[in-house]
Symmetry: D2
Subunit: 339 residues, 4 copies
């Protein structure tokens, strides 16, 4: 049986990690990546000897790659002709335009959270609504915060039922090294509700969700505090057990030194993970508590890598590689090393 | 009738503002301040021509003041002999030691939030439990976050009844210019519950409160998101009206540019407030929303000045200047210019 | 004798402070200010009771002011008809367009550092080239860093002669509360030479200047390290004496607690200065040293207010209020309270 | 021939990287590491399956490791008995105490920059004074900033002669995830001269060096601006060529996106380097310029990893593995992948 062929279009923060993620899926084949300009990410790829083949996404910039000494395999058209599915990780809004090309070529595509929902047939989360994506042509992933949040809420929902969720998102305002965004000594408040709560309700319509979001001058991961109303009462121990048994959630202890978003990043670096990335969200064990019967907890969202597993799931769904969530996520988890 | 005589011991971030606050109370007399070393705050006071008289709190350091060109009126003992009440704004833990002296001298004292509760006869908040402080010898104020939080919760509680509160505190990790504390690119998570929730329950024992706290690299004010369960249902408009009618709460709009803790600080600077201080907490209007019947909102706590009004209230209570909350806070508010 | 009539166009970070500065000059009259939208700065002005009259700079936005409850005196045209000179503190580039109006009206104007040099007849610094501005119609001020840097270099140059300067600017990336700029955990390096060195050579053509600039995540003032080659050798004591005798320079000691840009800001707040502003630059005494015969030192530039005094000087020059630098700066200094 | 046996004592930020560095030297053998408590670094090592053997450096804490599920091979005594040399990467001051043990055991040791100079027989830099370390028992490395600075200065010195150096260090105040240090919105100024300049003169006594240091709220690398007086005049192209031919220096272009300390970190992550580390310092090409005949440039110091190569050199020197600098650094560079 031939493996599905995958392209990654847009080799930025997310695109790089998608390419790595596909390369680790033993039942998929990464044909190549496409981008428009010789970014640092592509210079690094060249210095590593071009483990992935690069296709030029803009005729104007082939010269740019050449000048930068970055080998180009061909044009994006040639790449698209070879693949079954595209992971589009371009800047927000570009995916919508690219979709026309994908449709003409008759290839499926998976878009990231920055695109509008109507770019896709289904708004997708590997754990929460896998079956809705099966066989679909165009899927859109939830954003980083929503992806991580849904992991935790879905985990409890399947065991105890969740009726209502209210969250506070402490949002990193920029990725490491991003010089185009930033805040200094400012906590920037957004109106209620944040889009993540709205998106959660889109994916999990049986839950009433809302919440606030504050942008903060940090780069290594978001922190979300969650207050959730369960249908069945649960204890702290049960919550820990539920989270612990989820392959994409780590339960960590503040007392052990896992006391911040950046401690998680540092730990991922020390684990030897490529780029110091972590696919798992973390639940800080000592933050689990109760207000009445509502459960409270805080999670860490490693924004650079958290959506990679669910995007792998999306490929599986779109290409009908697995029919059920459990089969699909098991393979994604295995190949990405999440136990 | 002679005015009550007040001393401020400890002229740091809080002490300076307490001195200013007392100086603005037309029915009190600031006799002097005391400190141990020629800090920048005291150098600034000297450059301003010593509007307050300084008493040396440590025999060793009189020479320090002299070398710095800061005029000293006498020793702290002399100051204490002249006053009816002391506002102790020394570093956490020092107040407890100082209390022995105050007891010996037979003078009343008000301590700040950093001291342990047992330093005082009553844990005090001007709006929430004024009457408990009337005539007491030793009062301890709530900390900055708790003071501001209780203002907002008490405001709703008196009108609609509040049963339960869960909060997320986005805490400034250091005051402006503090080089002894700080975080860079870190969101530091604390175990549940934060002391502010516990303290709120101490002051308002009919409320079930809990919450999380995350330290962030900001200096100009805390942000607290609150989810509160009211006994009587209320609308957003009612909440706005309640907050708006509270002299120590400002309702501000994100759409108008009041979008962050630092926007509030900047506004206070532009108002011409001394030190760019603001006594009022702010409620961001667009953050008011509902999760079920629970009300949600976010407030800004200007940590440097927020406790000043409630400390003025405490003087009024301890010295029995006014017997009721309404009389007391009205005078404090008038003298501090809060309408 | 009637006082010269002054308008301030643009009431942002600089414009507010220019208005305050003019209001403090006893020999000038501030007729009014103009702006286009109800910013926080104008809301604060309204809350203060409109000490300055506001003229609407955009017909479209009069309704905006009205909706915000900010009284408007009239249109900018009416303001310009009443004045002898405009201080244009609009966003970079707008001043150039406004100049057409000023020319038509036959009024003089002073532009800030963000405009291109050719907006003006002369690129001006009150201390370094006052006489060049006398009687001119259009003057452009140096930017905040250049203004402060030139103060220090000119101070030494007049006494010891300075041949060569190399600087490193540690630049605050945003003003307090600015949410449109920012860096998180990044030191952003600019190519050599920085414009400040180039501008210094423009104002002081006998000096060879160059240097580097790094943007950092701070808001309360720039730090510049200077290495300068004097013609006549000087000692540390002589340098301190020179700086100390300059009314717009403070010599401060790290050992006293003046150890950072933010310590200077905090001190200015504690001094009771409006908005916590400081007009003076600071030289950190313990940073004065030598490399060979070259003198090294570090200065603090309070970016929000540092250009105000030199802009007052510029009014004096343009309107020929004083013919010489010494007369002019003496009056500016007196009215602004710099001894 | 048996390979020299090496231990790493202290498995913190530096110790981890020293262990990795030794493990990559094909002509050395890493026997084990020692530490006192189950830090995140050791938890990460355990999660990776303990590629290095851990010895307990404190009898009290063996239980701590056990509780944390971290396998312990034995006590530090057992480790020391097996090795020829120790890399001591404990906290500043501890190395001095440990030295007594190393002396008793008759094993050599290499200390890091935090220790006092008199802990060692020689203050060492692999490129600048390798020969002084040959055969010595106790070597102390230069600190991260000094190590990187000397690389650049030594590189030019050997070709053009350097007489005088003045530097400005923009110092990261904390490592990523460090919650015990930090500054928020502060640029903290140190007196002249910084210790790095003093240390440079210790290693390169023919150079007159001084400079300033400012602590800034960043974590991903220091920036140093250097102004150096060469004996022979050199051009920008010659400087670039000199730096480019140095295996431990990268010349990077701001125009290519290498515009900050954090861009360098991000690039190292994208290169797939373990922990996102970089051994090389970077010279920003567009910062190279001249003030008179003095050369100016800015370098990036990746503080977490920069000292690793020179520490490997130190092992080579102490154990007389290579007699000359050129032989030694060539092997270190080859094994660490620096071309």
């Amino acid at each position: 049986m031939t493996k599905p062929k995958v392209a990654v279009v847009g080799y930025g923060v997310i695109g790089q990690r998608l390419a790595d993620g596909v390369a680790r899926q033993k039942d998929m084949e990464l044909i190549g990546i496409a981008d428009v300009a010789p970014t640092l990410a592509l210079r690094a790829l060249a210095e590593r000897g071009m483990p992935y083949k690069l296709y030029c996404a803009s005729s104007d910039n082939a010269s740019g790659f050449k000048a930068a000494g970055i080998p180009v395999e061909g044009k994006i058209d040639q790449l698209l002709d070879k693949v079954d599915i595209v992971l589009d990780a371009t800047s927000a809004g570009v995916g919508m335009k690219n979709k026309q090309t994908y449709m003409k070529k008759g290839i499926k595509a998976i878009f990231q959270g920055g695109e509008k929902n109507d770019v896709a047939d289904v708004f997708f989360h590997g754990y929460a609504n896998y079956e809705k994506g099966v066989g679909k042509n165009y899927l859109k992933l939830t954003s980083c915060n929503t992806t991580g949040l849904i992991r935790a809420v879905d985990c409890l929902d399947r065991l105890y039922g969740i009726e209502r969720v209210a969250i506070t998102i402490i949002r990193r305002v920029a990725d490491p090294g991003d010089i185009n965004r930033g805040l200094v000594d400012v906590a920037l408040v957004e109106p209620i509700p944040n889009h993540q709560a709205v998106d959660l309700m889109h994916i999990m319509p049986h839950i009433d969700a809302t919440g606030l979001l504050v942008h903060l001058p940090i780069t290594h991961g978001h922190i979300i505090t969650v207050i959730a109303t369960p249908k069945k009462e649960l204890t702290k121990e049960q919550a820990i057990e539920a989270f612990n048994s989820h392959p994409r959630i780590r339960v960590v202890k503040i007392a052990d030194g896992f006391n911040s978003n950046t401690a998680m990043f540092r730990y991922a670096r020390d684990l030897g993970n490529p780029r110091g990335d972590m696919y798992e969200i973390a639940v800080f064990e000592e933050t689990i508590g109760f207000s009445g019967k509502d459960i409270i907890f805080a999670i860490n969202i490693p924004q650079e890598a958290v959506v990679i597993p669910e995007t792998m799931d999306a490929i599986r769904a779109a290409l009908e590689m697995q029919k059920t969530r459990d089969e699909a996520v098991a393979l994604t988890n295995e190949y990405l090393g999440m136990k």
